[in-house]
């Protein structure tokens, strides 16, 4: 069919007054004006910046990123020392940001879901307690929580020294040493180590690769087994029990590795001032993580509660009336519906958490803001470059998270008339 819309009814010839009074041109006129205003504003800002820099005898130059950083960073996910470049320091910071955010998101989700559900529980006492928790954490600034939790760690746990000498403190379970700077937990070493994979300056133990590989394999296998169980169920109506296979998938490989390579735990040992031999998890990380978790968890609890309440009572009644058990009702009926309501605000909480992790400096956790936006900017005097770069990185992270959210949203949108 050639039945397409023509551009519009024959219109009178163009007159300048139509720029204002004709709808089509008017919107164009308006847009052009706004465009010009915005562009001149941007131009003005850029012009000012250039003049100001000139007056100060400065320039915009990102080469500082490749010069020696010179400072040390307590927590690092990939190797770094003070001879590395500012760029690497920034990457360390970014990884630290992502690391604490990731841990925070996971923990806050668990906490939030648990609290949200418990707030709806018919246990009066617990529901009240959870309400108090939510209100207290939501209505007091996060910075305060970060400081308080960090202080609690610092104040209540002993110094490493306390584990030495006559009336020495004992390691918890003989393995874990909480101190006022970090918690020392056992590391793992192999009797028959297969060595490490060296990529540039990063050394990855083969064991870790093997372990992660087996984990990935287990995940894939699990999916396959569940799919098969589904097929069997579709065919026969009975779902084969799979929980023990699933369990085995995740338990057997680690145990095998453990035995084959002769793994053993290295108990943290107090050498000199500090523990070594184990892994020292800094209190700043734990406190920040805990504060972010507790704070965001309170918001997530509200989201979860609202999500569950949004699924009407009729849905569970209908499900019960069909003979479905409460747990199946939860999994098949309530959760799938509640998730649609919960997930979008949940992701925006993840976003908030990630952005809030920039308060890390209050406890000396060196995140992106602490390295690139803090010490680097300070040592090099490149605040313009450093801070703009930092903002761009945060923006990119945020956009990635909200991108995921949009994909999810468009996927689960309810079909309606």
């Amino acid at each position: 069919m050639t039945d397409r819309a023509p551009a519009g009814p024959a219109s009178p010839p163009f007159r300048p007054s139509m720029l204002i009074y004709d709808r089509r041109y008017r919107s164009m006129t308006f847009q052009v004006i706004v465009f010009i205003i915005v562009m001149s504003l941007v131009w003005w800002l850029i012009g000012n910046t250039i003049t100001n820099l000139e007056n100060l005898g400065k320039d915009i130059d990102f080469r500082f990123l490749f010069s020696r950083a010179g400072y040390d960073i307590p927590q690092q996910l990939i190797p770094y020392d003070n001879d590395d470049s500012h760029l690497r320091a920034a990457v360390i910071g970014l990884l630290n940001t992502l690391f604490v955010s990731f841990l925070g998101c996971i923990a806050a989700t668990f906490l939030g879901v648990a609290v949200g559900v418990l707030r709806l529980s018919n246990n009066w006492l617990f529901a009240r307690l959870m309400t108090i928790y939510v209100e207290i954490f939501r209505n007091i600034p996060l910075l305060l929580w970060i400081l308080i939790i960090f202080a609690i760690f610092t104040e209540i746990s002993p110094a490493p020294r306390a584990y030495r000498g006559e009336d020495a403190q004992n390691l918890f379970l003989g393995l874990i040493a909480p101190t006022n700077r970090y918690t020392s937990i056992p590391g793992i070493v192999a009797e028959h180590s297969p060595g490490v994979l060296q990529i540039g300056r990063i050394a990855i133990p083969w064991l870790a690769i093997l372990f992660l590989g087996l984990l990935a394999l287990a995940v894939v296998l699990r999916r396959w087994i569940n799919a098969r169980a589904q097929r069997v169920q579709n065919r026969t109506g009975r779902r084969p029990t799979t929980w023990w296979i699933n369990l085995a998938l995740f338990v057997v490989p680690p145990v095998a590795i453990w035995l084959i390579f002769g793994l053993r735990l290295t108990v943290p040992e107090l050498t000199g001032f500090n523990f070594s031999g184990g892994i020292n998890v800094d209190n700043s990380l734990v406190a920040l993580w805990l504060a972010l978790t507790l704070y965001t968890g309170a918001f997530i609890a509200e989201i979860v509660r609202a999500g569950i309440l949004a699924v009407s009572k009729g849905q569970s009644e209908a499900s019960f009336a069909l003979g479905l058990r409460p747990n199946r009702t939860m999994n098949l009926v309530i959760l799938p519906q509640a998730l649609r309501v919960i997930v979008p605000p949940l992701i925006s909480q993840y976003l908030n958490l990630t952005k809030n992790s920039s308060l890390a400096i209050a406890v000396g956790y060196m995140d992106l803001r602490g390295t690139l936006g803090g010490t680097t900017v300070n040592q090099t005097g490149r605040e313009l470059e450093g801070i703009l770069l930092m903002m761009l990185v945060y923006l990119a992270v945020s956009l990635m998270i909200s991108g995921v959210m949009n994909i999810y949203n468009s996927r689960v949108k309810l079909k309606e008339r």
Binding site: P74, A151, T154, F273, N283, S284, G374
Partner: protein
């Protein structure tokens, strides 16, 4: 702000002075918000010299991170804050250090119970250090040079650092020796803590101005020298009036504007230095009043004694 800071200052009839947001003895506001301290005295002296009134100062608290930007952007006229004079700051950051009012050096403080008597024994220790300072870099260099390792605890303010140190979250606290002394002095039992003998860096501290406004730089520099020279020549806030009228010493006469017209050369009147000295006394008086041995902070003059006393304080001739 570019160009003529003096005109700006006289124009608004107020000196804007960038200071530390709270460092006992050097710059701290009391319960009523009045600023006092060693650095503050410099601001007051400049204000007295330029505006004839030591009270016409607005103190802008700055953090380690905001201080140089505040100065570069013209937000403050002078930075009287413990900032170390380094090559790159002087050149790359396009600042000008107008002089040195305190020769400092970075040191370590440890609890006596730790049983450490030298910084060389700190291998593997956890050390509290303020982020974004030269301290952080010196620390890294020192341990590198001595082939030792350490665990930094980065903190963002002095108060937080003290808190961590006192709670034992770090084995040692490192900052400029003056700061260590001030911190230690405030502890419940100062004798439980020792400041280790090693001074691992040179930390010359002094007022900073913008690069390029040399006239303003001169004013700040010579105000500082006036304070130092006054001590050298025995001019104190008590005897200054008397000396102004009947001092025999030609240098003192020039300094106090009794003879000559040094003030005009930097765009001020003849009595500028007299006012500056009167504002808070000479260098020695200021030192004694704010951080000296009589104060709780109890710093000895050490390097900061007059050159005549074996120290480094050496004012250029007023001629």
């Amino acid at each position: 702000a570019e160009g003529d800071t003096l005109a700006d200052v006289t124009g608004r009839d107020q000196l804007i002075c960038g200071v530390n947001a709270g460092l006992v003895g050097f710059a701290s506001p009391d319960a009523n918000g009045n600023w006092t301290g060693f650095d503050i005295a410099v601001c007051k002296a400049i204000a007295a010299a330029v505006l004839s009134d030591p009270a016409k100062v607005k103190y802008v608290p700055t953090t380690g991170q905001t201080r140089f930007t505040a100065l570069a952007s013209g937000e403050v006229d002078v930075l009287a804050r413990n900032s170390t004079w380094t090559f790159s700051r002087d050149t790359d950051l396009t600042l000008d250090f107008a002089g040195i009012n305190y020769y400092d050096g970075q040191g370590f403080m440890v609890p006596r119970s730790l049983g450490v008597s030298s910084a060389k024994e700190l291998d593997g220790a956890t050390i509290c250090v303020q982020t974004g300072t030269t301290t952080e870099l010196n620390l890294a260099d020192y341990f590198n040079a001595n082939n030792m390792s350490y665990q930094p605890v980065n903190i963002d303010s002095n108060a937080e650092g003290e808190q961590q140190y006192m709670a034992g979250a770090c084995d040692a606290y490192t900052t400029d020796a003056s700061g260590l002394a001030a911190t230690r002095a405030a502890f419940a039992s100062p004798s439980d803590h020792i400041i280790l003998p090693e001074i691992i860096s040179k930390e010359p501290l002094g007022p900073v101005v913008r690069h390029g406004d040399n006239n303003w730089g001169d004013i700040v520099r010579w105000t500082l020298y006036a304070l130092i020279a006054a001590e050298e020549y025995g001019v104190t806030s008590a005897n200054i009036e008397e000396l102004a009228s009947n001092s025999e010493n030609p240098e003192v006469q020039r300094l106090l504007g009794t003879t000559g017209d040094l003030g005009a050369m930097i765009g001020l009147d003849a009595e500028w230095a007299k006012r500056a000295i009167k504002a808070g006394g000479n260098y020695g008086e200021i030192f004694a009043k704010t951080i000296g041995e009589e104060t709780p902070i109890g710093l000895a003059r050490g390097l900061n004694a007059q050159w005549t006393q074996g120290g480094l304080m050496y004012a250029m001739p007023f001629r």
